[in-house]
């Protein structure tokens, strides 16, 4: 996109939309091609332009085939979540998923069937998590889910629900042909009171995914949660005798 903005030395702080010199044809075409409505309002108005930009941002954050968040959007969200966990102390779960034997699906049924499988798995993933969770396609047959504010006690159940959902979902790959696929799932919690990094977190979840693959696929493997929280019962026992001895 080419933007020619006339210089306004007298009033440089105010941003006027220089619509006359913007070339927006391709952007609008792109939106139409992906089935999005054109921006509402006066063409060229600030509101109209904002809507156009929002639509383009949305478009560039999505995976074209499945409509899920793409790798770029996923990485942004992951970084934001790392910050949020460090500040709020709420546990968050990261799942990484991989379709089992996806190459065989492609080899045996063709790439169109492979695409059908990817789309079906994507919608199964979306259906099995909360609206606030981010589901992303991060590579060929690799997916990831960020689950903010997910209590460690529920991790296993959530991941199992996702796995079962995919396992029990028939995928139509032709007029009279259905196949089923499975996913291997690895997961790791962003530990509380931790200044971690997105890369470390992803690596920890991926390690568990390798475990799930190595141990037979169609499995969930979560990193054992190291519970750093000390309960009141534990504290009571920890201090009891100790204080008693102190007063002797």
């Amino acid at each position: 996109m080419r933007v020619n903005r006339p210089r306004r030395p007298s009033d440089s702080s105010r941003l006027q939309p220089p619509t006359a010199t913007l070339e927006l044809g391709q952007a609008l075409q792109l939106l139409a091609q992906t089935g999005r409505p054109p921006p509402a309002g006066d063409p060229g108005s600030t509101a109209w332009l904002q809507e156009l930009i929002d639509a383009l941002v949305d478009l560039s954050s999505r995976d074209a085939l499945t409509g899920l968040a793409n790798r770029r959007a996923f990485e942004l969200s992951l970084a934001r979540e790392v910050d949020r966990v460090a500040r709020s102390g709420e546990p968050a779960l990261l799942l990484t998923l991989d379709i089992d034997h996806f190459k065989t699906v492609n080899d045996q049924w063709g790439h169109a069937a492979g695409d059908q499988v990817l789309r079906a798995v994507a919608s199964a993933l979306l259906d099995s998590v909360r609206p606030m969770d981010l589901v992303a396609r991060v590579g060929g047959e690799e997916f990831a889910i960020i689950l903010p504010n997910c209590a460690t006690a529920f991790g296993e159940a959530v991941a199992e629900r996702v796995r079962r959902r995919v396992e029990h979902m028939p995928v139509a790959i032709g007029p009279s042909q259905q196949i089923t696929v499975s996913v291997s799932i690895g997961g790791a919690f962003a530990p509380q009171w931790v200044r971690s990094t997105p890369a470390l977190w992803l690596e920890r979840a991926d390690q568990q995914l390798y475990r799930a693959k190595a141990q037979g696929r169609n499995l969930v493997r979560l990193e054992p949660t190291a519970v750093s929280v000390v309960s009141n019962e534990e504290k009571r026992l920890l201090f009891e005798t100790f204080q008693f001895q102190d007063n002797e």
Binding site: A226, V227, E234
Partner: protein
């Protein structure tokens, strides 16, 4: 095939605590001096990557640091410096790496550095950061042994216990040593160990395949000389070897070398 003798390799021990301010760096430096006095080759590595106070405790402001080794500007041998107590140190340089920048590359490099120093020393002490962050867990994971420093206070006990719990779950640690610092009466170290072990037995061990066992490496009595040495920026064991805290550290080093 004949068995070839393994090259001598250092015992790598991570000094950690959960809570800050319990004397982690004091213990790392003075234990190193005590081990050096016992004839061992000892290296203390600032595994907090620049946020530790090792340089302050030792009153050393090196020109060449771990940072220069990581960036390839200097060799590892240039960065290993003699410390006042007769041991060696590898300092990171203040503020070298923020926690948030602990990248996989830096972890690989840290691992490489530890591999390289292993054959050069008998003991490598990793002075880790406070808290139980990923970074601390990672540096502890590089060590064969863990020494948890704890003081007889509720906050320190709680954080030491949390650290032990996490290391048992996340790294499968089953044996961890305790050093009870700033004890107010003889035998307090033993009751602190007992107390922690009791809670571990009740709340941690039932969920594990094998039990976590805490060992008391020793206790260091609260000693006004420690504060004095810290304020004078001197190494206690080096300048006041006859005070109770130094004598206790020497005894601990003796146990470590006879084991």
């Amino acid at each position: 095939m004949t068995a070839t003798p393994q090259p001598p390799s250092a015992k790598i021990i991570a000094v950690t605590s959960g809570k800050g301010g319990v004397g982690k760096t004091f213990v790392s430096a003075n234990l190193a001096a005590a081990l050096a006095r016992a004839g061992r080759r000892v290296l203390v590595l600032d595994a907090d990557l620049g946020l530790a106070n090792l340089d302050v405790v030792l009153n050393l402001y090196p020109k060449v640091t771990l940072h220069d080794v990581f960036t390839g500007r200097h060799s590892l041998r240039d960065a290993i410096l003699p410390a006042p107590g007769g041991f060696s140190v590898l300092l990171a340089g203040s503020g070298m790496v923020e926690y948030s920048r602990m990248t996989p590359e830096i972890r690989d490099q840290l691992q490489g550095v530890i591999r390289d120093v292993e054959p050069m020393f008998d003991h490598v002490i990793l002075d880790t950061g406070a808290g139980i962050s990923d970074v601390v867990l990672y540096t502890v994971s590089l060590a064969g042994e863990v020494l948890v420093v704890v003081t007889p206070e509720p906050t320190s006990l709680t954080d030491a216990y949390a650290t032990i719990k996490v290391l048992a779950a996340a790294q499968g640690r089953r044996r961890m040593s305790l050093l009870v610092n700033q004890t107010r009466r003889p035998g307090e170290g033993r009751s602190v160990r007992q107390q922690l072990q009791q809670v571990v037995d009740r709340y941690v061990n039932p969920a594990l395949d094998s039990a976590v066992r805490l060992e008391l490496l020793g206790e260091v009595p609260a000693d006004p000389a420690v504060r004095e040495a810290v304020q004078r920026r001197e190494l206690l064991f080096d300048t006041m070897p006859g005070v109770p805290a130094s004598i206790a550290l020497a005894a601990i080093a003796g146990r470590m070398t006879s084991a």
